[in-house]
Symmetry: D2
């Protein structure tokens, strides 16, 4: 099943060396449906990557697809700047009714440029404008994008090195669990904020992911998040939850912070918000902080109308009641069970994450890479994350049916066995 | 034809105050075709805004639309991260064969996050990485986006003010024609670069638009651009042409700098590159500068496969020979003639821009706003630009048929007459 | 003993509001000798402030004074830029022979502008130049000066707020003892440096005071400093010890880090280095890091020849053998004993610092201020430090004779009693 | 007269490579009086460098010296922090009465750390605090010091390169005369400030030298300075005149901007303000801008009492009437005449500067260096300045008697002839 070199010659010749996923998954993909991706030559792969959580409802969901085709066939707007459009109104209505209202949220919706990084940039600018402060507190192993403002908040040194200039305006604090033992990093954060000589300037915002997707599936405890939220409030900082990867059902609820008793001042959403993998990003902003003037943060593609169409259907299909959420919860339990079982024969492996973003820290980036490579050979697309790429991360579509899910997990388990054995063998 | 308040209640209630175009064009749009946009109640508008030059081939071009529907119906990938896909290969092939090769360009194609700002961010990072320098030279009235890195290069104080923090790393130089009289701003640039005590740090890049779309349709002379390119080379800086608004045929050729005898080191493209208004952005990078490592600049939506599909068809439909280019040139001449005629009854009005991005500097933002408001009443969507919003800017789809084009220009001429008369009246 | 308003009218009328010490010590001083300062009206004060440790050898030491008068009378150079001068040669010889050689140090001596802040600025620039990195690690409650580069490393928010702009390029880490309990902050530093996704950019330098004078007399444990030095080396960062306040004998040895088994890459000295309170500052730099080009860091007053004269005599008078060091050690023990005794009747008071920079954390800035105010009334000049100004800090001249020292301590003890009683009284 | 290597061995062995002037003037100096410096072996040099304008009243002025010796003998304070002292009061009184009042200035006096760079840092911080803005406009070829904040405003690339990090917060504008022809750079400044899309953020301050000492003796026209002052006012920016090198009589009046009809908001003074070459620096600040809190900008050596003593005598000796000023003006005319004469036999040489800071631009740094080297051989200390070190700069003490002055000028003229002849010879 190795790829014909001629098939990928054009990429080698013409595409930038910055390309990356294609290096690990060396095939040419043509189509996809649900949790499967199909290559040019008809090979089928189970997709446990899901566009890095951009395809929470799977590929080409039939209802979303139908709505989009209808829209196209009736010459619906494709690109609407930030004009009023039917499609945007319908999305806002659905989002208002099924997402915000039931959660007692009255946030304004700000459509930013359609990338997660753009939403983060807008969030940081807004928090700085609201507070008149510049410092933003972000956490170890946080990932928020690679444009200059967002990159300052991103922890990864490889990405930071790409800036080619100094990254300013962000103070780094240890995420929950960063200290060994019982030391609570929120104590440290509190001490630094209270101490007038700590050297930490009064923050405009505290920016966090409740589960750090790229950072290695570190899941903060609800009580830690609750306390950080309280510290933000106490010190006049806005709480920004970056829910780009963990939101849209990935951890169970629509938002990753539900049931934690907090209401973030700003929430960033992107990835799965369109439901179809189409570029779309937004901020949710408490009304009192909605202080940007018209077009103060602008961008050409804020009105990707196709995405509004599919996003609306996604909301009405999956989020009008709690059935989908319960299904996801059940599938997440299956995932936990399966990973725990795998951890048993992987000495030192640790279960990471929560909901449908769980994985195993296998202790070494080399081993994790070997596992993913073997899995791909056997028909499963899966990736690593973490500061040493040491975490094998399961990001299957939330809609994956049980058979496919179990099949994928079986491939993964087998890959783990084989890679672990090779690794032991190599060590001996 | 005024809009029913109930129609837009959801926007007022739920959308952020950052929304902008919808404030001037107070209707709810549903569909669009070619150069026309249709509202919910069936009113038709001629579109001389074209998604700020994102819809150079008009709305819902039938060939592009058909290809996209086919792709959808066959469950073609919607979201492909940066995996190898059929659709991307086909786009790269077409772009290579019909755009790059005929222009003797061997640039690598880097897909960035699908916004112009993201492409600019990537370009600045890359130039800094290549040169090991941080300073970037940008020009008065330049507009390059509003994320932190791009915003540093943007001149507009309203947008800069949104940053909430200091914008660093950019030195501002006067664009061509900024000095009155015969003084050439390239002389000043040269003096500053040569003087070891000028305080201008050695630049990583010189970033420019050949026509400043947002800055007021300032069109640099080819000889100025040629000289700036030579200065960049002489001083070890990369030349970045931001062709996001002026490229993709807007000024005549596919690139705005054709026939100027320069080959930029980096070119940014976005807006019309997908041909359908779908989010897509890319860098063209000389092979020797293609130094980002895998995923060093990454992003979830780099593989908007729908956009690859339509972008490919756009290339093969419009750019395989010079017919389209000649049509655009003819239409641009019509535009010049019409605007010159309008300038006659507008004392002090100045023709600005070139190709299909021309307009009139009417001397005051209030007058320009009145003109656009009146035009909208009469069925024409048109916007202003410039540091005082004093330039009425025609950005019609390049594919606008002659009848529609003349009809739109007639509405504009009429609006100018009426607004000018009112303005005179008010002054008396 | 209250000051005649006419005496200080000129200060009120003409001197900037930035003046500070004079607000607490409301007298007009005329002369000083040893550990005593005398006002215009002849009132004598014992000086436990010693120019913030700039007068370690007391006021107007007769030998230094005589040498300076001789120099003046023979028209010795006053201002020598950085020309070769007899006086500089003699200082360098003495410093080389009596300070560097016995400590097996081969550091080069760089004369910077004659302020501590200037030395810190030079140190940071040099470390950045040597390593090609920009990030500098500094610590909570560190104080390094208030010019822009140094201020970035200073923790105090009041001073930081004076910048009027964002302070960049410094990462803040917790100083030794910052965490309650047994958690070692060096563990945290190590974790952050090793973690490739911690968000801490590779540091050019780790900058620390072994005892934080302004920060509240926090004294780091030798083993912590030793470990931080090792971490610096392991991670390619230069170790900069800011010995401006703690050096020149203040903590016992000439340098504050002696007997810790470390050799800093760069050491900053100022304050008492001239021995007479004259402006002088210098860097000690390991030869391999002495990479500034001629005048790359320059300044008009680098050659304060008067200071070279007194600095040379100070070295030869106090540091040719260990007698002075032993005296200081004995006096420091007296100080410890006296402060421990005072701590007994001050519930919660904590002994801080080491050597001749010790004090009592009395738990509240108000109480500390009241103590100092009362002491001044009784003829003792003494100041506070710490993030809440809660530490009463004894910085007597190292040469203070035992009678004067005990007299001063007695005034202090009495002031503590009275202020504590008032404070209790007020609380009841 | 070549220096014995043994004499300077200690400098080579122990002093940093950052030393500079001593490289060009390879002697060991011991004493100095008036306008002469005497080496260890008794060789006498005429001093046309004057500590870079720090010794405007010559070396060891007998009256200043006597006052300082008296102060020392009576155990006057040497180091007074910012306490009230007799010496400071006397200086403030004299400065108030003889400098400020006659010029109708009511500026407050802020003593900063005793270096020019520190005064500049304080000025920039203060302007930013007053205005709440960060951007500062500085000029091509400006020199303001090498600490991070000041260095951002300094134009010289060699010094800027020493920062090791990006220099932010300053926008560079062309100084008077920077454009060839009749184009007035103030027009450009005005255009940039008025244009809302120029990319120039609203400035906190405009910082300028009226004569650029290090930048090559560029003297701005009074009308240009007047206009820049008006632009500052119009745009809400503070006008800061850096009078560190050009003030204290160097250009004729006590301030360099007298008779220009402007009153700067902030003035920086250092170098010759102590009159004796002792480290001292200060800001003059309009009362309404005196907004630093107590110690918000602090520093140990703000109270260099020795400098206050000599500074007071300097004021009362030289500035109580206009006699000194007239003498300086006469001497400046001699200088102009002499330099014009020299310019005649130096093809292309241009007279630069004004008052007692004039020189010749000889067109090449090599030639200028050769001239200074030859002059030194013949007993004259003189230095170059300018972006290519192409300006031979006469900075003789203002008090130089006519015989000595003419003698020095004769040596200079001779050096010019010889160096020019050699240069011609080499070229043939």
């Amino acid at each position: 099943m190795s790829t014909n070199p001629a098939d990928i010659a054009i990429f080698k010749r013409r595409e930038s060396e910055a390309r990356s996923y294609c290096r690990g998954f060396d095939a040419v993909f043509t189509s996809a449906k649900g949790s499967e991706m199909i290559t040019r030559d008809g090979t089928r792969y189970i997709d446990f990557l899901a566009g890095c959580s951009s395809l929470n409802y799977g590929h080409n969901d039939p209802d979303l697809k139908e709505a989009l085709i209808d829209h196209l066939q009736s010459d619906g707007l494709a690109h609407g700047l930030d004009l009023h459009t039917d499609a945007k109104a319908a999305f806002l209505d659905a989002f208002d009714q099924h997402i915000l209202k039931p959660r007692k949220m009255d946030h304004k919706v700000m459509f930013t440029g359609p990338t997660g990084a753009n939403a983060v940039e807008a969030a940081l600018k807004l928090a700085r404008k609201v507070t008149g402060r510049t410092n933003v507190i972000a956490f170890t192993n946080g990932f928020h994008g690679v444009t200059l403002g967002a990159l300052s908040a991103t922890g990864n040194s490889y990405h930071r090195g790409g800036a080619g200039t100094t990254l300013n305006g962000v103070t780094r604090m240890p995420y929950d669990g960063y200290f060994p033992g019982n030391t609570d990093t929120a104590d440290f954060l509190e001490a630094m904020l209270k101490d007038r000589s700590s050297g930490i300037d009064a923050p405009a915002a505290i920016l966090l992911e409740t589960v750090q997707g790229e950072g290695g599936l570190n899941a903060a405890r609800p009580e830690w998040i609750h306390r950080v939220a309280a510290l933000a409030k106490e010190h006049g900082a806005l709480l920004i939850v970056d829910d780009i990867q963990a939101g849209c059902g990935r951890t169970g609820g629509f938002f990753s912070f539900e049931d934690m008793g907090i209401t973030p001042d700003i929430i960033t959403l992107a990835k799965s918000v369109s439901g179809f993998g189409l570029p779309m990003a937004l901020l949710l902003v408490r009304p009192e902080h909605d202080v940007f003037g018209p077009a103060e943060h602008n961008g050409t593609f804020r009105g990707n109308t196709h995405a509004f169409v599919t996003a609306r259907v996604a909301v009405t299909k999956f989020w009008v009641d709690d059935r989908f959420q319960k299904e996801v919860a059940a599938r997440a339990r299956m995932l936990t069970t399966a990973l725990e079982e795998m951890a048993e024969f992987l000495p030192g492996a640790k279960l990471k994450g929560r909901g449908m973003m769980q994985g195993l820290d296998v202790g070494s980036g080399d081993l994790a890479a070997a596992i993913c490579a073997r899995a791909f050979k056997d028909g499963l697309i899966i990736e690593t994350s973490g500061n040493e790429d040491q975490v094998v991360k399961v990001l299957a579509p939330l809609t994956t049916d049980n058979d496919t899910f179990l099949k994928g997990l079986k491939i993964l388990r087998n890959a783990m066995r084989i890679a672990t054995d090779s690794s032991k063998f190599a060590a001996e």
